[in-house]
């Protein structure tokens, strides 16, 4: 398994390099330039000439790429042209929100989708099956931005002043300030370095931070703000997972060993939970892995609808503002993240099915 993992990581390096190459040249092909995009009317030729020289953008693009690779090898992702702050700092501010949102969305998709798929398979061709598949088909067909707006309308307006009211925008209610959990523990955190990056990243996941710091009210407030975005983002994945689970369960339930188990007198519940369910998991896990990638695409739209400053929205704004370092830095992190996630999914096959040899 270790050899397999190393091979997979090594084979992903050319892909990540290719992603970086394409991104580097693609963003520089966007019409306009960062100086005009950021300074607007103040962008005179003299100011822009100085601007490009300061940022190293006056050099030929291949030279810029070489310099960027050299800095990257030293862990330097560069500085945002717009915010004049290190990319790593912006990343650890924005990425935690998207990670938290993505995890909640996938959790929602799995918790609802898998049981729906199993029930649908067990009650094949019944009214339950038909209703479940209708819901799944509708879920797969809904635009995520439309669903987000409709959820906001229902839960923020129609259910206003009821216990089911949920906030339609933002991460926390006005006046709620999360205290980093490490301050609650009294830890001393340096101003830079790996420890700072990791702890700040975790503390910017407000739900996790609230739980770790025993600040239940802030954690709950953060959860309330994330429910609608997570449902909007996770619905398509939920529908896909429900359909795949149903299909996989039906295939497994038709196998000879299931018939044997029933013939031996095993209770139906045990047949399903002990024998059928685990064998149906493999294709479902593959689909869940694929959904993680789609979630990031959907995050752009969800973050826009709900006013969340996550990775998706930041990248979209960076493209508009021609802020090359943000685009490059974020894309690298996302590409590496995809590789790691796909590896985890592949490794899980060996755990779920011992017959699978990860050669």
């Amino acid at each position: 398994m270790i050899q397999f993992s190393i091979r997979r990581v090594l084979s992903a390096i050319p892909v990540v390099f290719g992603v970086l190459l394409v991104t580097f040249f693609l963003v520089r092909a966007i019409p306009g330039d960062p100086c005009t995009a950021i300074l607007g009317e103040r962008a005179t030729p003299e100011i822009c000439e100085r601007f490009f020289a300061e940022k190293g953008l006056d050099k030929p693009i291949p030279i810029q790429f070489g310099i960027y690779l050299k800095d990257l090898a030293q862990g330097d992702f560069g500085e945002s042209i717009r915010f004049k702050r290190p990319i790593t700092t912006i990343l650890i501010e924005r990425l935690p929100l998207t990670v938290e949102l993505g995890l909640l969305a996938v959790t929602f998709a799995i918790i609802i989708g898998i049981p729906l798929g199993i029930i649908s398979a067990l009650k094949r061709n019944s009214a339950t099956d038909v209703v479940t598949m209708v819901i799944a088909n509708i879920g797969v067909s809904m635009p995520v931005f439309w669903l987000g707006l409709m959820l906001a309308y229902v839960f923020a307006l129609l259910l206003k002043d009821t216990p089911l009211q949920l906030p339609p925008t933002g991460r926390l209610s006005a006046g709620v300030i999360p205290i980093p959990f490490y301050e609650v523990y009294g830890w001393e955190v340096p101003a830079s370095g790996i420890k700072y990056l990791v702890l700040t990243f975790i503390s910017n996941m407000y739900i996790v931070n609230g739980i770790l710091g025993f600040d239940w009210s802030t954690a709950w407030d953060a959860v309330r703000h994330m429910i609608l975005p997570a449902i909007a983002l996770g619905t398509i994945s939920m529908a896909i997972i429900a359909r795949m689970t149903r299909s996989a369960m039906l295939e497994v339930l038709g196998q000879d060993y299931i018939r044997t188990a029933k013939a031996k007198g095993l209770r139906h519940r045990k047949v399903v939970l002990k024998h059928a369910w685990r064998n149906a998991l493999l294709p479902v896990v593959t689909i869940i892995g694929l959904q993680l990638g789609l979630i990031l695409s959907g995050a752009v739209l969800t973050e826009t609808v709900f006013g969340l400053a996550g990775v998706g929205r930041t990248m979209f704004e960076a493209i508009t503002a021609r802020d090359f370092p943000i685009i490059q830095g974020f894309v690298i992190v996302i590409a590496i993240g995809f590789v790691m996630l796909n590896l985890l999914v592949d490794l899980s096959y060996g755990f779920l099915d011992p017959r699978v040899r990860l050669d």
Partner: protein, 324 residues
Amino acid sequence: MSSVTELPVDTIDDPLEGTIGNFKSNSLWRLTLRRFFRQKSAIIGGVILIILVFGAVFADFVAPYSPTEDFIGEPNTSRRDPPCIHLLGCPEEKPQHIMGLDGNARDVFSRIIYGARISLTVGFVVVGFAIITGTVLGSVAGYSGGWLGNIIMRILDVVLAFPFLILAIAIVSVLGPGLTNAMLAIAIVSIPAYARVVRSSVLYVREQSYVEASRALGASHRQILMGRILPNSLPPLIVIGTLGIATAILDTAALSFIGLGAQPPQPEWGSMLASERNQVFSAPHLVFFPGLAIMLTVLAFNLLGDGLRDALDPRLAQAGFDPE
């Protein structure tokens, strides 16, 4: 029972006909169609699609107004008026607009009908472009293999490593916002999916005995590819193409929603949603109806695609399965 030797020569079948990968044109397609029409969900998808196509083609007759005609200054009308249906109690003196008026006092129902033209065009053009390009790349990668196949697949892997929408946004930013560029961007990011399907199909089919037989008979690479391999790659392409139309419509609407796709005053559904999204609390009908139109269109293609996939299931075809 007659012996085989008594059979006249002209009744002996072509040895390559009727084999698993070689659809005997009449009977297997008829079987496929029969299986397709047995699925209620596929029929529902087909009916929705027929209504949509009818509305799109005959929009000039179906839509009560032009998509750009506004009612500013008309008596008893104002911007963002809610739906008014006289049959459901809306006062007669108020002009009937069954889905209300938008922020520019244009009839929403008419804009949605005309928007169907845009969405259907988007779906077919995007998928058509992506399938043709993907088929060429996938065929070359699968048939020739070697270093060329590897390079093609690595380039496609790089494209696939990007989050779909982010790459589409970047491409549109390079080309400039607009519906045509949005369609091109979505088509480009969709190519790898089709190329992979065609490549898998080609890899499987090229090892079949009938392809080997064709090679032995002296057929050229082009003849084998066009005559044997690609036709047998059609079934999965038809399925993912149909499902791909749904995705193309959704993604183009998404690009329009963030301002990079269709530009006003085009009645594209995503762009209609985008321009009124801040009114969701005061005029929810302006968000509800365009989104519902997108959902129903995408649902129709998804149901159709699912139906085609089940009808074209190769395991059923190989087993000669006849539901009757």
